[in-house]
């Protein structure tokens, strides 16, 4: 049973898109968090006005979950992540208090402008096996069920959902600023699911038992009677807006290249291999760079998503990290994805780390500590769910609880997790957050992966070999 008398109130604040408008709001209602800004390097904040109020800066995706499990009494995040949680766990402990009246765009269901899908009615009537790609797998599933789609498969992705239709998905559920914005990506919005506005949320138990009134009053002063973000139909314009159609045609061999941190070293590597796709090294991200080889199709997606995509032969080859390949293979042991060779760049260590305060120096000592039930269950934060799960099982850590994160697991320690399993380059960040490494699971660098069936297929074999030879040449 939690102690509601201690009076400490914990607030989860968003990083990223909602950081500056939220910082403005907090300044306006004077919650006393001066350090909450784009520039802050710390995760933990204390209110100078309310001594009992503290805050932590988290990824938006994590906030709804963290508030629901009760690690935070209040939180601010986008309606999209709240609904993504609530649609799956409607009886849960998450309460929406009020819209904060800022935010941008909506979550839409979209199809490629190149397919024949032009309306929702067609989706439920047809018997097709629809592939739906989304960062919001729960919203995507609820949409498919409500529409009574006869057969569908959901492909959760870490990002770049817009890059998948039409070849690699029939539908995507994604954020778009407006119908016009979506049309510029060569997509047609079929349905607007919800507007993305910031919301104040609370943990139900905290709301029922704890005095949050002072803080809620601050918010109330700003929030006048709920002017729900007006749901005007942005979709009507989709009729006129067909957008520039990407000139896409089926290619014999498909290659996936990474975006994000991996993009620059990968572009460098491809250049060495004499295979510099146009539009890949540029600042402005082009999801479909073109190659000199007319039989080669290239797409830029998240490295996390590649193994699954290669397994489904949406791509024959991909450049990703060994960490994400392993994460995939632990989940799907018989997956037809294979590592061809490591590329030697983007090297990181996958480590297990705990707070410097914790009296353990290796995993064996940690096991004893968990057995003595001081840290039972051990809460482990990781973006590598399957790697972490296997590591904990193999080391007989029992009991434990996994907290999935979307990067920056170090923010969770020590209050919301006891251990993290994450990648580090130098270990400097861990030290800054007063954490220590107790084990190195493995080293991971960028690698070339392939679908086994593509390697063996008579119509692909030669070209696959040609391409891997060329890439191998870039190694030296």
């Amino acid at each position: 049973m939690k102690d509601y008398q201690d009076g400490c109130i914990k607030l989860a604040l968003p990083k990223g898109r909602f950081l500056s408008p939220t910082a403005n709001l907090l300044a306006e209602i004077d919650l006393g968090f001066q350090d909450y800004s784009d520039k802050t390097k710390q995760y933990r904040l204390r209110s100078v006005r309310f001594p009992s109020l503290s805050a932590k800066i988290l990824q938006e995706k994590d906030i709804s979950i963290q508030v629901a499990v009760g690690n935070y009494d209040l939180g601010i995040c986008g309606l999209d992540w709240i609904e993504e949680f609530l649609v799956k766990y409607p009886v849960g402990a998450l309460v929406k208090i009020s819209s904060l009246n800022y935010g941008e765009g909506s979550i839409h269901v979209v199809a490629s402008a190149e397919t024949e899908i032009a309306s929702l009615n067609e989706l439920s009537a047809r018997r097709n096996d629809y592939r739906i790609v989304s960062e919001y797998p729960n919203l995507a599933e609820a949409f498919a069920l409500n529409l009574r789609m006869r057969r569908f498969r959901i492909f959760p992705v870490w990002g770049a959902a817009e890059a998948y239709p039409p070849e690699n998905a029939d539908l995507a559920v994604l954020w778009g600023k407006s119908g016009a914005h979506i049309a510029t990506q060569g997509l047609i919005p079929l349905k607007r699911l919800l507007p993305v506005t910031a919301f104040l949320i609370a943990n139900r138990e905290s709301l029922e038992n704890k005095d949050l009134s002072q803080i809620l009053m601050c918010f109330n002063s700003k929030l006048t009677a709920e002017p729900q973000a007006s749901i005007k139909n942005e979709l009507d314009i989709s009729e006129e807006l067909k957008g520039p159609r990407p000139l896409w045609q089926a290619k014999e061999i498909n290659l996936a290249l990474p975006d994000g941190h991996q993009q620059a070293p990968t572009a460098q590597f491809l250049k060495q291999a004499g295979l510099a796709p146009q539009g890949y090294s540029e600042e402005v991200s082009n999801r479909r760079p073109s190659a000199d080889l007319d039989w080669l199709g290239i797409k830029v997606i998240r490295p996390q998503d590649m193994p699954l995509q290669v397994a489904n032969v949406n791509f024959d080859l991909a450049i990703t990290g060994e960490d994400w390949l392993l994460e995939h293979l632990y989940r799907f042991p018989s997956s037809p994805v294979k590592k061809l060779f490591a590329l030697g760049f983007g090297t990181v260590k996958i480590v297990a780390a705990v707070s410097q305060e914790m009296p353990v120096s290796d995993i064996d000592e940690l096991r004893s500590l968990v057995q003595s039930s001081k840290f039972a269950p051990l809460k482990v934060a990781s973006e590598y769910i399957n790697i972490a799960d296997k590591y904990l099982r193999d080391n007989h850590i029992n009991p434990y609880k996994l907290i999935p994160t979307w990067g920056a697991s170090e923010a969770f320690l020590p209050e919301d997790a006891d251990m993290l399993i994450d990648n580090v380059q130098t270990g400097k960040t861990l030290k800054q957050h007063k954490l220590k490494i107790i084990d190195v699971l493995f080293r991971s660098s960028a690698c070339l992966i392939a679908n086994k069936h593509s390697l063996a297929a008579s119509d692909k074999k030669e070209k696959m070999e040609f391409l891997t030879q060329k890439l191998r040449a870039g190694l030296s």
Binding site: L145, H328, S335
Partner: protein
């Protein structure tokens, strides 16, 4: 999630035994489908409501990188229909029954997430005799179980659908209204005034009146001559069934609202209540097999819900398991142990349950106790726990004789 304790299992087995016996007597054959099925089996038919599908336990299999998901069986009928299509579709008629668990998330903590059903399905039988057959089979099981205060309610999915059509709603509104009705919210229908006052009168009559014989339906037919053709043919179907039930002396109540949960019904729908609680239901679902890419085979069936039946099932004393015989060894020496095991085996061979004990604890609830001392000339002491009498016995034959004589 709940454990079934020995007394629960006695009830469970009793229900199962009665159900199996009745089904076999009516010519039904038992089948069993896997606990794990593909999710698309349940989405493909469009026959489970989105709210039911949002409560299934589904997950990616170990080879599920293609996004294909498996599910813990959320319904009993659809897997049996699949089994029929995959394996038995050559048969013109198939009468199948099953005892199975189904899984659905339940967040209130009041019900189990794993529930048991005894179900029977009749593939290939056109109406109305098969409809009556499954109602009477279900009724027989309930009667033989000795449940009291039983009510049978009849409705008709075709009738309800025809009624809805009269409201001339848009496809979206009609789907929403159907969902509400399937969740038991009939007020939605009474609130949605139609353009035609005749229809409102019909809805009010059907929802307000509960007929107890086919005469009621004749009255409905006579009072609303302008009803649609669909409505009339469904009404005719229900009249045929109820007339048969009347002739067979089966009592029921016609309650058009007695239909919810499943969308696959096309004709008669019925449910059984014991002391007001739903203990079973079923009906006709002629579109299910074709929807699952099978041939155009009509079908009907029912399921009895084991969990609520267990709550109301009377359990006679003698059914609590016959009190057996306790074979006690005075000491745990190799000789005495051997004698004890041999005695117990002979007793069991002769059809008496026999339990062993070497702990010297106080015995209770046994019919006989055989104490093995191993001392000649009478190595056994036989206690009659009912009469409270003791006697020595010299041989196994003597024990068997006394025990068999009671």
């Amino acid at each position: 999630m709940q454990d079934l304790l020995p007394e629960d299992m006695l009830r469970f087995r009793r229900i199962e035994d009665v159900f199996r016996t009745c089904c076999r007597n009516w010519g039904y054959q038992e089948v069993r489908t896997p606990t794990l099925e593909y999710l698309y089996l349940f989405t493909a038919t469009g026959t489970l409501t989105p709210s039911m599908l949002s409560k299934v336990y589904s997950f990616l299999d170990w080879d599920g990188w293609s996004g294909e998901r498996v599910v813990l069986r959320p319904d009993g009928t659809i897997p049996v229909a699949r089994l029929y299509i995959d394996n038995l579709s050559g048969q013109e008629l198939a009468r199948l029954f099953y005892v199975t668990n189904i899984f659905a998330f339940e967040g209130t903590g009041k019900e189990n997430r794993e529930r048991w059903q005894c179900g029977a399905e009749f593939f290939g039988g056109a109406k109305s005799a098969p409809d009556v057959e499954i109602i009477l089979l279900a009724e027989e099981v309930i009667r033989r179980l000795g449940l009291s205060n039983i009510a049978l309610q009849l409705s008709h999915a075709g009738l309800v659908k025809a009624l809805l059509k009269e409201f001339k709603l848009s496809p979206g509104e009609e789907a929403r209204m159907t969902n509400r009705i399937l969740e038991g919210n009939w007020q939605a229908l009474t609130k949605a005034k139609s353009i035609n006052p005749e229809i409102d009168r019909l809805v009010a009559a059907l929802l307000g009146l509960k007929g107890k014989s086919s005469s009621f339906l004749y009255n409905v037919r006579a009072s609303f001559p302008k009803a649609s053709q669909d409505f009339k043919s469904s009404l005719e179907d229900l009249i045929n069934i109820t007339t048969l039930l009347d002739n067979l002396g089966c009592s029921y109540k016609i309650d058009i609202a007695a239909i919810h949960g499943f969308e696959y019904y096309t004709g008669i729908c019925f449910q059984f209540l014991a002391a007001g609680e739903k203990i079973g239901g079923g009906g006709r679902y002629d579109n299910l097999v074709p929807l699952m890419n099978g041939e155009d085979i009509p079908a009907c069936g029912f399921a009895l819900y084991v969990d609520p039946i267990m709550k109301v099932l009377p359990l006679e004393k003698e059914k609590k398991g016959e009190p057996g015989i306790l074979v006690k060894g005075e000491e745990l020496t190799p000789e005495i142990a051997k004698t004890c095991f041999t005695v117990a085996e002979s007793l069991r061979d002769a059809g008496h349950p026999a339990e062993l004990d070497f702990t010297g604890r106080e015995e209770s609830n046994y019919r006989w106790v055989v104490l093995v001392s191993g001392k000649e000339p009478s190595p056994f002491v036989l206690t009659d726990c009912v009469q409270g009498r003791q006697r020595d016995a010299a041989s196994m034959a003597e024990i068997l004789q006394v025990v068999s004589e009671g």
